[in-house]
């Protein structure tokens, strides 16, 4: 009997198990428990939610291992954690801590402005952000086992999440209508490997699970992203920066499952208290937009 860990199927398969679910950002064990009780499929352990990173500035790094350990001990659902783009030592540390998924994330300050982590070198799977199909396929080529559309983290403004999901979906649909001999140019233009471009053109979808992230603050935001083709959603600041996190978390879980049933979403949206205040992406000068990190 030959047992193998860290295969593509095992890494990508893990993301398949998260589909239709909500992954929530948490900064301590109490929040992780609230997320689990509300029906989150996984939690993302980090030191500051994106809204605070944005407000406080400074360099944002991988979380303290002690904090990650405490969250791991508090919940039975998968625990994810973020490493800086290109910071493969942070990723090695997270793998040694036994986190279930690593997010190589633009929400943290990048460590490398040219190279991403070579994710094939790891047993633990990675999720990476993307704003378009070419970026998604470059990450998959580097070994990412899951993609999330970036949106604009820490804003509570859904507009960029919509832009990125529509962009990726539109580019996939365009590929499916092309002749095979046109895919070479498409690959060149997207700066993506031809083999992956061809695979997407044939399947009509990415070869990995794609979630949506960055600006989701309400149950209806979550449902909107599901309609646009997301397999599930990440909610960062939107839950624990709101007035009643436990209720809002449970409401977003319901809306993600029943995204095509407006009555359920209407009921889920009642009496949730204040949503996060948020900040309009239009008011954020371009150099401070996190989605532009990653190459």
């Amino acid at each position: 009997m030959s047992e193998t860990t860290g295969t593509g199927r095992v890494k990508r398969g893990m993301a398949e198990m998260l589909k239709g679910g909500v992954i929530m950002d948490v900064v301590n064990a109490e929040q992780a428990k609230i997320a689990e009780d509300a029906g989150a499929v996984a939690v993302m352990a980090l030191e500051r939610v994106p809204a605070d990173i944005r407000a406080q500035g400074g360099v944002a790094r991988m979380s303290d291992p002690d904090m990650i350990e405490k969250i791991k001990a508090a919940v039975s659902i998968p625990v994810m954690a973020k490493a800086r783009i290109g910071h493969f030592v942070e990723a090695q540390i997270l793998q040694s801590l036994g986190v279930d998924y690593i997010d190589e994330s633009e929400v943290l300050t990048p460590a490398d402005y040219e190279n991403h982590i070579d994710k094939w070198n790891f047993t633990v799977p990675f999720v990476c952000g993307a704003t378009n199909l070419g970026e998604a396929l470059r990450r998959i080529n580097e070994g990412a086992a899951m993609i999330r559309s970036k949106g604009e983290a820490g804003t509570g403004d859904i507009s960029q999440a919509v832009v990125h999901m529509r962009k990726i979906g539109g580019e996939i649909r365009r590929l499916t209508s092309m002749r095979e001999d046109e895919l070479y140019v498409a690959a060149k233009e997207m700066q993506a490997p031809f083999e992956l471009v061809k695979e997407v053109a044939q399947a009509g979808k990415l070869p990995v699970v794609m979630f949506s992230a960055g600006g989701i603050a309400t149950p209806s935001d979550a449902a909107l992203m599901m309609h646009l083709g997301a397999d599930g959603v990440f909610i960062g600041s939107g839950i624990f920066k709101s007035g009643d996190p436990a209720r809002r978390a449970a409401a977003c879980v319901k809306a993600t499952t029943f995204f095509d049933d407006p009555k359920v979403i209407a009921d889920a949206s009642r009496g949730l208290g204040d949503a996060m205040v948020g900040i309009s992406v239009a008011d954020i000068p371009a150099p401070h937009r996190l989605a532009e990190r990653g190459w």
Binding site: M1, R9, G13, P78, D100
Partner: protein
């Protein structure tokens, strides 16, 4: 025969595809009226806590439990196995299961995601070759009651053999996720052998 896939959370699409390849036209079920009209049910892989939470929130938990007790043929993979177990170790406080299988399962028994693995397993009822099984944060069966047939076991990190595929009457469960590999023999077995026990609904 109407085969439903419980469509609350998890790898629903993969089970759909596996069932379609077996010549079945499955339907997604998540509302009471949908669950009342099916002749068999598949519970997908996913997060058992999330699926149980959603089933309770949307008022289908007791209905599914009642239908399983009344003999509805049901197959669960991974999280689905946990939800079909009468007893769960390492559950969260208050975690409920539908039950139906007189087994005790241990959640995340093989470890965390870095310990998730593929392995060849042999199931006599499915013939040869061995099945390539994908275990993702998978549970194992800690012990089984007298009426439970063990279809496959693996030698686990604790040095003991643990059941990873079990059947009791019209209930079938696997720790692993055959829907991820394109090998549909488990689904075929479920449709051809287990669903034979379906009782006509009124």
């Amino acid at each position: 025969m109407k085969v439903g896939v419980l469509a609350l959370q998890g790898d629903i699409r993969e089970h759909f595809q596996a069932l379609q390849e077996c010549g079945v036209n499955p339907i997604a079920v998540r509302r009471p009226a949908e669950i009342e009209e099916i002749d068999a049910l598949v519970i997908p892989g996913g997060e058992s806590t999330t699926i149980a939470h959603l089933a309770a929130t949307f008022g289908v938990f007791d209905l599914i439990q009642d239908r399983i007790r009344a003999g509805l043929p049901v197959y669960g993979s991974c999280a689905g196995m946990i939800l079909l177990a009468d007893r769960v170790l390492d559950a969260i406080a208050g975690q409920r299961t539908f039950g139906g299988l007189d087994i005790t399962v241990r959640r995340n028994a093989f470890g965390r995601q870095v310990d998730s693995f593929e392995s060849d397993i042999t199931i006599a009822q499915l013939g040869t070759p061995a099945m390539r099984a994908v275990f993702i944060r998978a549970p194992w069966v800690e012990d089984v009651g007298p009426g439970v047939e063990v279809l496959a076991s693996v030698k686990a990190p604790d040095g003991r053999n643990h059941a990873v595929a079990v059947r009791q009457g019209a209930c079938l469960a696997t720790s692993f996720n055959p829907e991820l590999t394109g090998d549909n023999r488990i689904h075929r077995f479920f449709i051809a052998e287990v669903c034979k026990l379906a009782k006509p609904i009124k």
